[in-house]
């Protein structure tokens, strides 16, 4: 199945106009020694055949009946209206809005997105989005290095391990050194980043402290104190936040965060095996010229109509080239639109309902496991909607449950070797009481 409209007659006409005998003549300038020797792809498929093939692959996945898996990607309701909006061709098949007169739909929706992210985070400026939360965090850390002219960053070990690995990759290029701030992950410990450990890691060579709220284990970090510790050394606080939690938890703007990064997937974006997701970044206006990524601003035309344009483009690669703040070309526009639609569809009340229900069901899960004698909380500190439970023989039991279509959360031991026999369980507004019963029953049936 192909999508080209040309008939043989069309091709003949074009060749005649061009003045060559065949299409081969248009490729004659490829040196013979480098012409493709083979192109061994499968045969074409019609629509019904390609649908059968994709269905084959989709059926090879087993979507669990019950899942408590979070660890950076969360199973939330994607309201039907989100699909309607991002399914509109005018949004989906348009390009980056470099000709603003015919792109006001995209541009205004990005302006609204930027506004909503500022409201959620309590910050003054938000970008038009980044590839994902991990890359947004890496870009924020590099921005902190530019702002402070320092070449080291401090990162709590309670930050999502994937985010930390991406940070390491991004810092390798410019030779930025990463200092770990060890979280208190001992059995019975807080599960949080100790403020004195942060202070010890910070000095006037460190550009920023990167801390996550809630952290990878769901724990509620002492963000205001961590901000103070960073500022005491002239460093920035980069707060990595979870967007639905911001309906309940203090926004980073209120506790002194200088830069904010987040994974926006929980805002109306399906799990989709890891992508596409959307990274959020926000800051204060005095840092805007060092911000990577796209920004949309309001302005007017000569007739006095309000319009929106990509602005402050001198920061970006197509003008600044080697002096650009970053090499970013795309943002994740359609995913940002999904997030904008989600936030307006649920509103502040709906977001609060999502957060509260997630929190209640996470506590319900922990309580049910404790009461059944199946496990106990590993950490003492309060948590948002994800909790680390100490469960004997966790890995084997997790595998046994998975075979029966129940995913008992995440096994943090892959990234934290000392956290054996631990299940990291997440709940959302989709977690039903029956799911919790199912988890308890299934764990009871294993040892």
């Amino acid at each position: 199945m192909t999508y080209t409209p040309h008939t043989d007659a069309d091709r003949e006409q074009m060749l005649a106009t061009i003045g060559v005998g065949s299409v081969e003549d248009l490729f004659a300038d490829i040196p013979p020694t480098v012409r493709a020797s083979r192109f061994a792809l499968p045969d074409p498929l019609t629509e019904q055949e390609v649908r059968a093939e994709l269905s084959r692959l989709a059926d090879r996945n087993r979507i669990p009946r019950v899942s408590f898996l979070g660890a950076g990607a969360y199973r939330h309701l994607v309201p039907a209206v989100v699909g309607e909006v991002i399914g509109r061709s005018e949004f989906a098949t348009s390009y980056t809005p470099y000709q603003p007169e015919v792109s006001q739909g995209t541009l205004q929706s990005i302006y609204e997105f930027q506004s909503l992210i500022c409201e959620l985070t309590g910050m003054e400026v938000a970008t038009a989005s980044h590839y994902d939360g991990a890359t947004a965090t890496a870009e924020a850390a590099l921005m902190a290095c530019r702002l402070t002219r320092r070449e080291r960053i401090a990162v709590s070990t309670a930050v999502d391990p994937q985010v930390r690995r991406v940070l390491a990759t991004y810092c390798a290029g410019p030779g930025i050194e990463i200092v770990d701030v060890p979280a208190d992950l001992a059995d019975g410990g807080t599960g949080l980043t100790p403020v004195d450990a942060a202070s010890r890691a910070l000095d006037d060579t460190v550009a920023c402290l990167v801390a996550q709220q809630p952290n990878f284990f769901g724990g509620i970090e002492p963000m205001a104190d961590l901000a103070d510790a960073a500022h005491a050394e002239g460093a920035k606080l980069v707060a990595v936040v979870e967007p639905t939690s911001l309906a309940i938890l203090a926004p980073p703007g209120s506790y002194g965060a200088d830069l904010v990064a987040a994974e926006g997937q929980p805002l109306g974006i399906p799990l989709s095996f890891g992508g596409p997701y959307v990274g959020l970044m926000a800051a204060r206006m005095d840092a805007v010229r060092q911000m990577p990524g796209r920004l949309v601003g309001a302005t007017r035309d000569a007739q006095g109509r309000r319009g929106y344009v990509l602005t402050l483009q001198a920061r970006e690669q197509h003008i600044r080239r080697e002096k650009a703040a970053s090499n970013i070309c795309t943002n994740q526009a359609l995913c940002a639109l999904a997030a904008t639609t989600y936030l307006t569809a649920v509103g502040p009340e709906g977001l609060r309902e999502v957060a509260e229900l997630s929190m209640i069901q996470a506590r319900h899960t922990a309580q049910a496991l404790e009461e059944a004698g199946l496990g106990r909380r590993r950490f003492a500190a309060p948590y948002f909607a994800e909790v680390a439970m100490q469960v004997p023989n966790a890995a084997a039991r997790h595998a046994a449950l998975a075979a029966h279509g129940i995913v008992a959360g995440h096994l943090p031991e892959r990234d934290y070797p000392d956290l054996r026999d631990t299940l990291l369980l997440a709940a959302t507004e989709l977690t039903r009481d029956a799911d919790i019963d199912g988890l308890v029953a299934a764990l009871r049936a294993t040892r």
Partner: protein
């Protein structure tokens, strides 16, 4: 076409001498090439400039350009108005659009710069 009382560098900066201090800025030619100027990154007071070294940045909607010091010296004053009104570089580049005042390190450096006639020739090509 270009003010006679100024000296010009090949990088399109100008110098006006008053006593052993001097004022520097960019020429109307540079401002026209850049288009609508939206931001100017000025040096700090006390900064040491060396002739032809980069001392700041000018941004327009579509372009970015480094500023190169036409003479060496120490910055004694910067034009605060440029933060709010970068467009002064377009509308009044030799007057209200001045960028910085410096104490000159070596007046002989002025010999290397062009007079208005030579600069006009340079920019007419």
């Amino acid at each position: 076409m270009f003010p006679d009382d100024l000296r010009y560098s090949k990088e399109h900066e100008w110098v006006r001498v008053d006593g052993d201090g001097a004022t520097i800025g960019i020429t109307s030619f540079a401002a026209d090439e850049l288009g609508d100027i939206v931001f100017v990154e000025v040096p700090e007071v006390g900064a040491q400039l060396s002739q032809y070294g980069s001392f700041g940045v000018v941004e327009s909607v579509k372009a970015v350009s480094d500023l190169y010091a036409p003479i060496s010296g120490t910055v004694t004053e910067v034009n605060g108005a440029l933060a709010e009104q970068p467009e002064l570089l377009n509308t009044d580049p030799y007057g209200a659009g001045w960028i910085a005042r410096v104490t000159m390190a070596d007046a002989a450096e002025l010999e290397q710069l062009l007079d208005s006639g030579a600069y006009a020739e340079l920019t007419s090509g």
